[in-house]
Symmetry: C2
Subunit: 187 residues, 2 copies
DNA sequence: GTCTATAAAGAGATAGAC
DNA sequence: GTCTATCTCTTTATAGAC
């Protein structure tokens, strides 16, 4: 079958699912080709840098997703901080499929990934910390405590995802999400 | 050079460092051979199942390490719960090298690892949860809350390790460790 | 118990047809 | 813009010498 085109968005979405499932090192071009319905050579045409290039595009896509799933609604959205944070938590629950899907920050931040990729992950993580700290301040926390609590909340979420993966049960992630409003002062 | 023997303990220690650095999929037999000073064929002689076999032995070693670094001192050790937990936290700090080393529960619990390996990780994680819950109860927490807090503490530790890796700075792990005594009621 | 050598499969990468 | 074909290097795994 010739010319089985697939949009960049669809392609990168499927690549994301592979990377967050198998980890950076666990994803091969063969797997990417099977998941996208393209041959390896076609992937090289669209992403000349090969796997690193695709992984970078995936991570940039995640950064964009975090921007409009989390950062924008928290910062420029309507309603009380409490309501905005509730909405963000709902979107995180969906993004991580109730704890059944792992975090790309976790599985792609290991050696083997390019320095650029790791830098992008770090930048997005910083933005997440800033975003949660801002909502904490808006809810009345002092600046220093808002930073501490933002790290605590994100740590709980990431740790909950690890626990959920190890235990084979998303419940630990759900419980972690529940602690976030109190940590950020919107409970 | 012939017959460059290495003890199982030393061999598995070096393998552990590889697995917790590069993840399960990122470790090849070539890397294991280089790190241990043995040829690949020698590794197959000692671990006939190859990489899966070595990984399983590594994870069993980690289970044993957790037993005498964490579970035994918490359960049968001397001193107040507060003192025992302090000692355990010190040992965890050392085991994770102040947040510069990742958690084997995290990096080895992905597809690619054998079901037996994942089962062993889960069993050890359950033991960790039980151990922290027991110290919480001993410190006066109600049974249900002790379980919740144990998961919270381990989640914070695991999340702190993920944050430390992503940010390239162990500080997030150190801050996570600091929250543990309060969570378990020994602060 | 470790070595050298090698086979077979998988991975990354490119050339050239359509 | 995707395909088939191919090349090289890596990885897993085994056979047989010492």
């Amino acid at each position: 079958m010739a010319h089985r085109t697939i949009s960049d968005e669809e392609l990168l979405g499927r690549a994301l699912e592979l990377f967050r499932t198998y980890g950076f090192e666990g994803v091969s071009l063969k797997r990417l080709a099977e998941a996208t319905g393209l041959e390896k050579a076609s992937l090289y045409y669209r992403f000349p840098g090969g796997k690193d290039d695709i992984a970078m595009a995936v991570v940039n896509g995640v950064a964009a997703a975090m921007q409009h799933l989390v950062f924008d609604p928290l910062h420029t959205g309507e309603g009380t901080p409490r309501k905005r944070l509730q909405g963000v938590i709902e979107r995180l629950r969906e993004f991580y499929a109730c704890g059944t899907k792992s975090c790309v920050f976790d599985l792609m931040s290991i050696p083997g990934a390019s320095p650029e990729l790791k830098a992008s992950l770090r930048t997005t993580m910083k933005a997440w910390l800033d975003s949660f700290a801002a909502i904490g301040r808006e809810s009345g926390l002092a600046s220093g405590q808002a930073r501490t609590r933002a790290e605590e909340a994100i740590g709980r979420i990431e740790g909950g995802l690890v626990l959920a993966r190890v235990m084979g049960d998303g419940a630990a992630f759900e419980r972690a999400l529940k602690t976030v409003p109190e940590l950020l002062g919107t409970a």
